[in-house]
């Protein structure tokens, strides 16, 4: 969905930024978003305060709230998906072969649920 939404509106994205935050995603304020996401789900309290202030300065109060909602949503979904062993829909499996290999996603323990078949 990231790649599709970028192609629709902003042109290109470097997907490596998703697994390597030193890479520039090419998305506006991508660094602030990536730092905030990692800080909210991580254990470095001092980084969280800094990342929150940076995102708020870059995109405003409403964006900070919505970003928190999206991060919370995937904190939930990822737990349900990994704990229940659900399978990725075939259309998304077919469309993601190249970048999954590039980003090492096929090596995640949870990849077995889908790729075992």
């Amino acid at each position: 969905m990231l790649r599709a939404s970028v192609e629709r509106s902003e042109g290109t994205v470097d997907l490596r930024a998703v697994v390597d935050p030193t890479v520039d995603s090419g998305i506006t304020h991508g660094k602030a978003l990536l730092n905030f996401a990692a800080a909210v789900v991580g254990d470095a309290r001092a980084q969280l305060s800094v990342a929150r202030q940076a995102l708020r300065a870059a995109l405003g109060d409403g964006a900070l709230v919505q970003a928190s909602a999206i991060i919370a949503n995937f904190a939930m979904n990822d737990r349900a998906a990994n704990a229940i062993g659900i399978v990725l829909e075939p259309m998304f499996v077919r469309g993601s072969v190249e970048f999954r290999a590039q980003l090492g996603i096929d090596l995640y323990p949870s990849a077995l649920n889908t790729l075992r078949a």
Binding site: M1, G30, A38, G62, A63, V65, S68, N82, I86, L103
Partner: protein, 240 residues
Amino acid sequence: MKLYSDSELPVRPALEAVHAATLASFVGAGSWYSGAERCEIVMEARRARCEAGLQEDGAVAPHYADINATARRVAAKVATSVEDLSRDFMEEAIAQGLSIDEYVEVVGVVSRAVNLDVFARGLGLPVRQLPSPQSGVPARTRPATARDEGAWVPTVPGGSRGGDDAQRIYGSADPQAAPFIYRALSLCPDEAAGLVALGAAQYLEIKDFMDLEFTYEPALSRPQYELLAARVSALHQCFY
């Protein structure tokens, strides 16, 4: 009183409503656990997350109920070690006496509770306190339409194969309305319906999924939405 009346940041009414409903859902009886037991599951998750440094508060609370050690272990692990959840872990919990249905309910309660706590942490707010547990008896029933769809546990299919269960959980008889993430917790229908409601209010409704310009917040573009989602899932090593 509003759930986020202590926030200086603007929380959309729809978001506040679904979070309030989520918090309330923990204190009533579920499919297999009482309200007090569900509150204890939430507290076990919060204690584990505080111990792991993943949140700052919420660990101090009354003892709500006795739950067995395996349920506590599952709650703590799901709360803190997303990337490390495996079929072996689930099967070990089942071998130690937790039923598959109870396992799904613990996963559902913890996943949704972590959702609320992560949101509060993002805003710099303390976790929301649980209301008092309500009396009531767990339903102790499994949806008749649940079947093996490829996950580790049975799930309720979308569309006509899911019958009334699908309509109730996914809010539609259209099979497209039930991606696997929505079906994950469907062995405990209220847990699945709760996840669907949170997803619709926080991220997207299914009908907006392929509208690649849709967002709830004008200051955040859809690529920015998806960058956040992808980063969180990468940190959790979630293939789905």
